[in-house]
Symmetry: C2
Subunit: 302 residues, 2 copies
Amino acid sequence: MTQSQQLKQHPLIKNGWFKEVNEEHFPGQGFALQVEEVLHTSRSQFQDILVFKSVSYGVVLVLDGIIQCTERDEFAYQEMIAHVPLYLHNEPKRVLVVGGGDGGVIREVVKHQCVERATLVEIDKTVIELSKKYLPEMSVAFHHNKVEVVLCDGFQYLQEMAVKQEDQKYDVIITDSSDPDGPAEAFFQEGYFQLLRGALKDNGILIAQASENVWLDLKYLTQLVHTAKTVFPNTKYCYTMVPTYTSGQLGLIVCSKDESLDLTVPTRQPTPEEQDQIRYYNSSIHSAAFVLPTWANKLINK
Amino acid sequence: MTQSQQLKQHPLIKNGWFKEVNEEHFPGQGFALQVEEVLHTSRSQFQDILVFKSVSYGVVLVLDGIIQCTERDEFAYQEMIAHVPLYLHNEPKRVLVVGGGDGGVIREVVKHQCVERATLVEIDKTVIELSKKYLPEMSVAFHHNKVEVVLCDGFQYLQEMAVKQEDQKYDVIITDSSDPDGPAEAFFQEGYFQLLRGALKDNGILIAQASENVWLDLKYLTQLVHTAKTVFPNTKYCYTMVPTYTSGQLGLIVCSKDESLDLTVPTRQPTPEEQDQIRYYNSSIHSAAFVLPTWANKLINK
């Protein structure tokens, strides 16, 4: 073992395995990945950061002990949170991504030819820097000519948007926050959905990662969907399947100001050129992602 | 700690956690459940058996180190493997379950009023006995008057079926085997599908658990679907989402001798009485379960 490897240790890695456990949100269960090499550990102004190369999932980014992405399965998350709202909009030009400092979502956004401007608002510049260094396939769009990066708090940015003209607002907003325990806690409250509404054009589409799924805290998830509905009456829950997220799936909340829009059916189809660059999303899985098992459907869609 | 608790140990439980790892099938990743109490450990004639009460998933049955079911999420598997083929058949009367000694599948089968006879063929009577003792909600149907239990090798049973008259054959056959490393190895070969074809009525439906999903060995899974297709040209892959199975999902292979039948659309709807007893399955999720992400669809449905 070299000296640099000896120096890079992290309390969640023991006997060569990283173990994700969370007594509050998913007590009694854990997911583990075998570590080939620890690439980076630090504590930024906002959160604990760990980057390691795993034995079978490529490079892994962990924030505050929770897996954010792995190179092997990240496309399942990035594509669904980006393409579900983008293909619901008939011509998205201005897109805002709140969070998502690893760059994966913005990479998907600029695959849409019609997008003119994609703005990423990230509070923690360390995440962006580490992604550029260790996750080249995720951070590939940071230098794209349509992409603008703003380093600030998402709340503050949205508050400033509220007083802007309609043409300065967004066609699609994607909330790619981390989980509600860290700096992202306020992203799961009614006030946040109000701010998002203020920054969204009248025919705009919003999607927010729910940090939950039907197998975990279904009561909390149902409440979160209800919270979104008080602000956007046209709100639906869907999900994407990602093996390294807890329970193998993650919920997404989709909202529109337009109550007549059926969120389960895409408005546009991927062009052949776009579909060639997409590995997970297609029009059929867009609709299937809204179909829930009976017991969860009864609660969430009651 | 009492003496009996001290005696009940298992090599896969360390520091109060059971960890599922498998270097051959899913190297470098592991799933862990916190153990409240070990209820049973033994080695039957066929496999290593572990039953424990977990902190957050109820009672867990583990065969040869692989989680077979937990009380909290077992319905997602039992319902999909039973109701997908049963609602594809317009009037299933004779149903065969190969494996499934925990009783969960047969419990779902007898929810269908039209079923007259449900036969369970299980090689390991220890699994049945342990389920009756520790998994009362799964083993509830063993004493149902439509249920018949045959203790023998599934292969031998199917070989004897091949020479029977058409009216002695089955409307629906469900292969609820364990994974291909243990006693179930031969359940994943062409010869097995040939035997199943011989035991199935001309308008019968077959479903087999694939012991895989799109995130693991997609090449092997594609080959398995291809193997089934050589025997049943009308074969489709679908899946169910179960958080305690590897990657949070498990593949199922559905086959029919009738090439004109669309396997993705149920032939019957659950009656209101049936739907009241079903927590996961519904007609919409039947169809959604066949929709695959683009990259997997290209391989499996090519």
